[in-house]
């Protein structure tokens, strides 16, 4: 192996570690939701290539009100599903759509588009 080849192998190892760290192991930013005056936990989510914010922390036993606004036309994100709560909603481009339910049990629940390309997580504490 010449020097360049050694460098390439080493960069391969480094890149692999970086990819694994970045996508799997690095801690993700979480958004804590405050309780609004109405008693519900309200949060606005933008849908554009992903859900922003995508990790949402809420308290159990209080209604959660998620308002989605889809800012892209790609058909992929036209629906949002909460399989664990049997909730789903169509998200017409540019319109605010509210999904509301009350999580009763603590845990981590995923939400996603229909085919699972965009994903988010609802952490119930």
């Amino acid at each position: 192996m010449n020097t360049i080849q050694i460098i390439v192998v080493l960069s391969g190892i480094v890149t692999t570690i970086l990819i694994a760290w970045y996508f799997w192991f690095a801690p993700k930013a979480q958004t804590r939701v405050a309780v609004a005056e109405s008693g519900a936990q309200e949060v606005a989510i933008t849908v554009k290539g992903g859900y922003t914010p995508d990790v949402i922390v809420v308290q159990k036993g209080r209604p959660v009100r998620l308002t989605f606004t889809r800012q892209e036309s790609s058909a992929c994100s036209e629906k949002v599903l909460f399989p664990d709560f049997n909730q789903n909603a169509n998200l017409p481009e540019g319109e605010q759509v509210t999904v509301e339910f009350t999580p009763e049990k603590a845990g981590e629940y995923g939400f996603q588009c229909q085919m699972g390309m965009l994903r988010g997580k609802l952490i119930v504490e």
């Binding site: 799997w24 554009k48 699972g116």
Partner: protein, 877 residues
């Protein structure tokens, strides 16, 4: 004074108007001869404009009735009244708690309806208006928005109005009893705008519109990319292109420079979604298909550009670009997305069909007048006229007239159902023969049809447990592919043949491009969507993907006897005469039913109905006496009659002869025999039984043919139960089961290690339905929201059970095909792209082919799901 010309809507000064007219006590001003001419020709067409919307600013007091809901009106009445009285301009408030109405008299100059509504809402009530969206054509000026809004708000009965210039729509909340849609349209037209027919608010239509728009956009992007891809391809394979192969290396390099620039718009316009999507995902620390395509094409473009700019850096023979990969892959993937979108549109056809059933208008009778109203304006309690051949617009109860109604579109029942006063009619069914009037009980989103649509949509978007595996895989999939691409590069670079750099780059780009997480993600939802829609078309409402998946594995079906296998209602079956017959059978039935008419027992009811079916005239009854546990005695036309069981006959010492033997036969057959004695002598037996539905045994045979064990469960005694079981071919009978023990019996069957489905009526059997792996409720047409059930059979036939299992099996097979296909595609495709075949066969995959494969793999998944649309149940409707 500035006024509107009612014809053209132009704003004019009243003094300088071309002409003026007075119509129905109202002055109108016109801008030109043509406008006034049109008005004179047909003034009624224009009087719906602002001035005549019924709102008269001169009148000091206006009265309005507001339906309120949301809280019990009685308890909060004083609070509400006080709050309203506190508002300046409100003169009088009357609360009518029983009708949930509020009558307010107010000064229109000081306060408006919107203020009233907001005050009522602040207490916590809701104001029951109808919401409607009206499209406005060519709405461009932002200032007109306010004018139209004010005009709408000034229209009598309007609670609130907003105009959205972006969607070109007015959203109006109004009281349908005070105004109609045409008045709202007229208010918009006052300002010279044309109102479009109320745009459908159905999400399916909207989605379809969005899809059509997105499809056009994708196709434009595709054609652009394809148009660039062709010449770029030519320069990449210059060796075989006539004119290009004669060019010198320098001119070629220049040509490649041009293609580098040409492919830029392909990447950043045609392929913009990949790059923005990849970046957005990256920011969220996630990666998806966009990431792969963006990385693959991006790397190809960067390498190629470097290669032509600094050829000397690269070893001999490696400085050739491959811009063709960039253009072709983007073109193909965009095309794939467009085709996928089109195929997806077909998948939701079931919902579209259901929505298409909805009637558009209703002939409502209000204040003695008939009027055609859009179905959205129909209120609960309205009386609606339906003529032969017309659709029933909403759900209700017939108050006048009778008819036969075709309910096949909802229940799948092909025979029209006869309907008379007091019977329920369902919206979207078709009235066949007679005219009738009905009072509406459910409108809007509460109708049976709307509930069915909602339920089907929810189920289509639910998850089958099998999708979880695909979910877990796709969570790790893309980063793994990226790591594989890195190592493909490293390995080819280190141990690959010359030119190493080119091989390393091409193979790693191919790996990135061929991997298709989309096919995996699409596999389950697309099939579920089609399968559940198919079920709905056949009168089977599947509540969730989980129910669908479990139904596939059902080994035992438990059928409740009464109401499921049988009609659930006793009927007259046999009349047996004594050996020395003293009466004819019609006479026996007539006398018996005369007595039974007085009784309230359900068996007595069956005898009376049997007599009515034979058109027998019933006689007067005297001295009727019920003998508990035995039967009844009475006097009819001077004869003493005894009707009852064997105990009664023995008590009265009546010789039965062969009748006793015959009664046993009847009882063995699952029937209930009743002895009849006239003046102390045995006259005969009348037998009644809960009869089996015509198609039950056929359905049970079909279930057994599917390899499913059929078990009957009933509270009846064993003899009756077994008689019915024999008739329909059920081998295993659980008889004498108390209603509360049904669930336990289901559990016992499950303990045998079987997946058990329970079929019942959904009310008495709710615990058993919930206990079973799959609970199927036999509905009665409208009652679709049966909580305990996983699957609702709208038709009252057992054939639905067969169809439900067939739908489930067909759908799950389709899902398996999709999942296996998508897994194998990736599991085989990625190693081939990495070059595992190269050492043995010298075979390498071109990134162009990888792009095509990736684009069409997801189209294939959607296409395969659409194959389910051709599913035909064994028992078609």
């Amino acid at each position: 004074m500035i006024v509107h010309d009612p014809v053209c809507g132009m704003k004019i000064e009243s003094q300088s108007a071309f002409a003026q007219r007075e119509h129905m006590g109202q002055k109108y001003y016109f801008c030109s001869q043509s406008c006034v001419g049109q008005f004179d020709a047909d003034p009624h067409r224009y009087v719906m404009t602002s001035a005549t919307t019924g709102f008269n600013p001169q009148a000091t007091l206006t009265r309005i009735e507001l339906p309120v809901s949301g809280m019990p009106l009685k308890e909060h009445a004083t609070h509400l009244e006080a709050a309203l009285r506190a508002v300046d301009g409100i003169d009088e408030v009357k609360v009518n708690a029983s009708a949930s109405k509020l009558e307010v008299q107010y000064d229109a100059q000081k306060v408006d309806v919107a203020r009233l509504v907001s005050t009522i809402k602040s207490i916590g009530f809701q104001v029951g208006g109808t919401k409607v969206k009206i499209g406005i054509e060519n709405l461009r000026c932002a200032s007109c928005v306010k004018f139209i809004e004010d005009e709408l708000k000034a229209t009598q009965g309007v609670l609130s109005a907003t105009v959205n210039i972006a969607t070109q729509e007015a959203t109006v909340d109004y009281l349908p009893q005070n105004t109609t849609l045409s008045q709202l349209n007229a208010a918009i037209e006052t300002w010279g705008y044309k109102s479009r027919a109320t745009t459908s608010d159905a999400p399916v239509d909207k989605q379809e519109e969005a899809h059509a728009h997105e499809y056009r956009k994708l196709m434009n992007k595709f054609w652009f990319a394809a148009a660039i891809a062709l010449p770029v391809m030519a320069t990449a394979y210059y060796q075989v292109v006539p004119f290009l192969r004669d060019l010198s290396m320098d001119s070629l390099r220049l040509l490649w420079g041009v293609t580098a620039l040409l492919t830029l718009p392909v990447m950043f316009w045609s392929g913009s979604d990949f790059f923005t999507g990849a970046w957005a995902a990256f920011k969220h620390r996630s990666a998806n298909m966009n990431t792969l395509i963006a990385l693959g094409t991006g790397a190809a473009w960067l390498y190629s550009t470097f290669a032509i700019l600094f050829p000397s850096v690269f070893p001999e023979g490696t400085s050739e670009p491959f811009f063709d990969v960039v253009a072709v892959v983007i073109a193909l993937v965009v095309l794939g997305q467009a085709l996928e979108l089109r195929a997806k549109g077909q998948s939701s056809s079931a919902i579209k069909k259901l929505l298409g059933l909805q009637a558009k208008t209703a002939r409502v009778i209000r204040d003695g007048k008939e009027m055609d109203l859009p179905v959205e304006e129909v209120l609960v309690g309205d009386v609606i006229q339906v003529r032969p051949g017309e659709k029933v617009p909403v759900d209700g109860v017939i108050v006048e007239g009778s008819s036969a109604v075709d309910e096949s579109m909802l229940t799948g029942e092909s025979m029209p159902a006869s309907k008379k006063m007091g019977d329920e009619v369902i919206g979207a069914t078709i009235n066949k023969t007679g005219a009738f009037k009905f009072r509406t009980t459910k409108v809007g989103k509460d109708t049976a049809l709307a509930q069915i649509v909602r339920m089907v949509q929810d189920a289509q978007n639910s998850k089958a447990p099998i999708a979880r595996l695909a979910d877990i895989v796709s969570g790790y999939f893309v980063p793994i592919v990226m790591i594989l691409a890195v190592w493909t590069f490293v390995i080819w670079f280190v141990i690959g043949p010359q030119p190493q750099l080119v091989y390393a780059l091409v193979t790693s780009v191919t790996v990135l491009i061929i991997a298709c997480p989309c096919a995996l993600g699409l596999a389950t939802p697309m099939s579920l969507m089609v399968g559940i829609g198919k079920g709905a078309e056949n009168g089977i409402l599947i509540r969730s993907g989980e129910a669908l998946q479990t139904a596939r594995a059902i080994q035992t079906v438990v059928l409740d006897k009464t109401g499921t296998i049988t009609k659930g209602k006793p009927e007259l079956t046999d009349i047996v005469l004594a050996d020395q017959s003293i009466v004819k059978d019609d006479e026996l039935l007539r006398l018996a039913s005369s007595v039974e008419k007085v009784s309230e027992h359900p068996l007595a009811q069956a005898i009376v109905e049997g007599a009515q079916a034979r058109k027998l005239e019933l006689a007067e009854v005297k001295d009727f006496e019920a003998i508990p546990g035995h039967g009844v005695s009475a006097k009819v036309e001077g004869k003493n009659i005894l009707i009852g069981n064997l105990k009664l006959m023995n008590r009265e010492n009546i010789a039965l002869g062969s009748l006793e033997e015959k009664s046993k036969f009847l009882a063995d057959d699952g029937k209930t025999p009743m002895f009849i004695a006239l003046d102390g002598k045995a006259a005969g037996i009348i037998a009644v039984a809960d009869t089996v539905k015509e198609d039950s045994s056929e359905a049970i045979k079909a279930l057994q043919a599917l390899g499913i064990e059929v078990v009957m469960i009933t509270g009846d005694n064993r003899r009756t139960a077994e008689a019915i079981a024999r008739k329909v071919g059920v081998k295993r009978v659980l008889a004498e089961v108390l209603p509360e023990d049904k669930a336990k019996n289901v559990q016992l069957l499950q303990a045998e290690g079987k997946k058990v489905a329970m079929v019942g009526d959904g009310i008495n059997d709710a615990p058993a339905l919930a206990q079973a792996d799959v609970g199927l409720a036999i509905g009665t047409g409208t009652d679709v929201a049966i909580e305990a059930s996983d699957i609702t059979l709208i038709r009252g036939s057992l054939k639905g059970v067969v169809t439900a299992i067939e739908v489930s099996r067909a759908t799950m097979n389709n899902i398996y095909q999709n999942l296996v296909g998508a897994f194998f595609y990736n599991v085989l495709g990625i190693p081939v792209a990495m070059g595992v075949l190269f050492p043995f066969f010298g075979l390498l995959l071109s990134p162009l082919i990888a792009g095509a494969a990736m684009a069409f793999s997801s189209v294939t998944v959607v296409g395969n799901a659409n194959r389910l649309r051709g599913f035909k149940p064994k028992f078609s409707v």
